[in-house]
């Protein structure tokens, strides 16, 4: 990269430390994992052996992989939709001026701030089939986390609870940055709340909404912590997402070749979804 030397500057000096660290802990592992995915390599079976695309071919025929992919897609789609919708609602609500917005911001931040595993254990206790408060409040006796149908939804509910704040706060900031003049002018023209939303808030918030969607989709697709604690992937693999499956292959079955291929597929999916979003975003902006 040729740099135009502006005035006796060496940007390289300032960039070098960060780039060096990133090269070491990000770039190098990425290259390494790509290489690993092309190997037949079990941690207990000796040295890695070149296997070309065998792992990927195996992946395509692996029913458990497709199950995991489906689970992940379902989890992501439902979670993100709920998070963004709820987040938007909360953002619009909090955008109205009122005393104690600072306190509300702090309260809304709390779910985001606590570790996911802590939240997961919290919800695990709430979901408890025998003594959980959710069953108590709903009057049901469902073993939420042990029920093949409900488990994934229980996980989604927890993720939504945890991640909505992020969406809400971002959208709130975006909503607050829309000049009040626009709303006042529109009100003078006789616009009611729905019109205000549809013609001012929505179009101006759309780009930010996309950004929130992108971030949340990437995060939801990678979900690991919550599922690990809540269900470990069960019951009967109904909550086994791609990350959980890859983790099991890597660290329980100790197959580093195949596990790496799975992990890379996770990345490819994320990249694909992001690309679609970015394309859509560009289309809305132009």
């Amino acid at each position: 990269m040729k740099r135009v030397h502006r005035f006796g500057e060496r940007p390289a000096v300032f960039l070098a430390p960060a780039l060096a660290v990133l090269a070491l802990v990000t770039l190098f592992p990425i290259l390494y994992v790509l290489w690993l995915s092309l190997q037949r390599y079990s941690l207990i079976g000796g040295a890695p052996e070149y296997a070309a695309l065998d792992n990927y071919i195996r992946l395509l025929g692996d029913a458990r992989f497709w199950n995991a992919l489906g689970t992940t897609l379902y989890f992501t789609a439902v979670s993100v939709a709920l998070e963004v919708a709820l987040g938007l609602g909360i953002a619009l609500l909090l955008a109205q001026a009122f005393a104690g917005r600072g306190a509300m911001r702090a309260i809304v931040l709390l779910p985001w701030a606590i570790p996911t595993v802590v939240a997961a254990r919290m919800w695990e206790w709430m979901y408890n089939g025998d003594f959980g408060v959710i069953n108590y409040l709903l009057g049901t006796e469902i073993n939420w986390l042990g029920n093949p149908y409900w488990a994934i939804h229980a996980a989604i509910a927890m993720d939504v609870w945890k991640a909505t704040p992020f969406a809400a706060l971002l959208l709130l900031a975006g909503r607050l940055s829309i000049s009040q003049d626009l709303y006042q002018a529109a009100r003078l023209d006789g616009a009611g709340p729905w019109r205000l939303f549809r013609h001012i808030t929505w179009p101006l918030l759309r780009p930010l909404l996309f950004i929130v969607l992108i971030f949340r989709t990437i995060d939801a697709f990678r979900v690991f912590d919550a599922i690990y604690v809540l269900t470990g992937g069960g019951p009967a693999n109904t909550t086994e997402t791609l990350s959980i499956y890859a983790y099991k292959v890597l660290f329980q079955a100790l197959e580093f070749g195949y596990g790496s291929a799975l992990a890379i597929v996770v990345f490819v999916c994320i990249a694909a979804v992001t690309a679609v979003y970015v394309r859509l975003l560009q289309r809305t902006l132009s």
């Binding site: 135009v4 030397h5 502006r6 005035f7 006796g8």
Partner: protein, 343 residues
């Protein structure tokens, strides 16, 4: 104090050429101004002198020594920015003393120098304040103080007065003249306001699209503009540019045909009266602009706009027939095709 020389200096950003082959010399202690419309490259010239940018081609010399490769700190140049660029987290005293501190001057000497310059600029009462507590005029004085405190070789000012209100601007203009007379530092000034340039400078260079259209003393630019652009840029209200055919019995410079010539006539050289006169263009009033001292009349003479000074005292309604008197000696002739002045 240093002389500054530009030898065929050009500056490109990728495909765009901002400055194209500048050649000029600024004398020691001179107050030199670059003036021109937005985008003409004048701020880039300052950046090149300061060392904030490198020329794409050519050589810049201070006192004959090539400075292209020198960083700003090695050039001993001080600059006042359009936005003043005062450090918000430092007090006024710390702002002004900053360059001295960087050079390793002792705290005591720094304080003394700062106090001296602050007294000279009338801001010694503000030394402990922060920039955000100051008015625009005060901030500007602090910026001036920071620049002058180290007696630089070259003093650069980038449109320093454009953020001030009209009256403050005039006050600071006089102040700048006084400072220059006192400190006698080679000063390079940049503005888009031609009146400011004329009032302050020893010499002015008019820039357009990266090229010097004319360089000389202010009155020279006013009286003998080298081309249509300079003629139209310098002087307010702007010069009237008229077809040569408008004038009867015009004595054109050597060999030129009326169709190829444009005539420049300054509004100050035009007297608008209700009575006909020997050398006058007949026309009618479009509008009158009473500016207190003068009454400017903008009118039409055979379809061309002419502005002149009224001989009468009260504005006249549009459509009133008037006569635009001129003196042949005051006419400027320009070649239509190139805009160049014809002798």
């Amino acid at each position: 104090m240093a002389t500054i020389a530009f030898e065929n200096v050009s500056k490109r950003y990728g495909e765009v050429t901002v400055l194209d082959g500048l050649d000029l010399e600024i004398a020691e202690g001179e107050f030199f101004t670059f003036v021109g419309p937005s985008g003409c490259g004048k701020s880039t010239v300052l950046a090149l002198i300061a060392g904030l940018e490198r020329p794409s081609g050519g050589t810049i010399r201070f006192d004959g020594q090539r400075v292209n490769e020198l960083a700003p700190r090695e050039r001993d140049v001080a600059m006042v920015f359009q936005s003043y660029a005062l450090y918000p987290h430092m007090s006024v005293a710390e702002n002004i003393g900053f360059p001295l501190k960087l050079r390793g001057m002792s705290a005591r000497d720094t304080a003394r120098a700062v106090a001296e310059v602050a007294a000279r600029l009338g801001i010694d009462a503000l030394l402990e304040r922060r920039p955000r507590e100051l008015s625009g005029g005060q901030r500007q004085r602090v910026a001036l103080g920071r620049a002058l405190v180290r007696r630089p070789r070259v003093f650069l000012l980038d449109e320093p007065l454009s953020n001030l209100d009209a009256r403050l601007r005039l006050e600071m203009r006089a102040e700048l003249r006084r400072l220059h007379a006192e400190y006698r530092i080679t000063t390079v000034y940049v503005t888009h306001d031609q009146e400011e340039a004329m009032a302050l400078s020893d010499r002015v260079a008019v820039l357009q699209a990266g090229r010097i259209e004319q360089c000389g003393e202010p009155l020279e630019l006013y009286r003998e503009p080298a081309n249509l652009f300079v003629a139209g840029f310098v002087g307010s209200p702007p010069i009237n540019v008229l077809e040569a055919t408008l004038f009867p019995d015009l004595e054109l410079p050597c060999g030129a045909r009326a169709a190829d010539v444009l005539v420049g006539l300054r509004p100050a050289d035009v007297v608008v009266s209700r009575d006909p006169a020997p050398r006058a263009l007949a026309g009618e009033v479009l509008l009158c602009e009473p500016t207190g001292e003068h009454l400017w009349v903008v009118g039409l003479a055979r379809g061309q706009r002419v502005t002149g000074r009224a001989a009468f005292t009260e504005p006249l309604p549009p459509g009133t027939p008037v006569h635009f008197e001129y003196a042949p000696a005051r006419l400027h002739f320009f070649e239509r095709a190139t805009g160049r002045r014809l002798r």
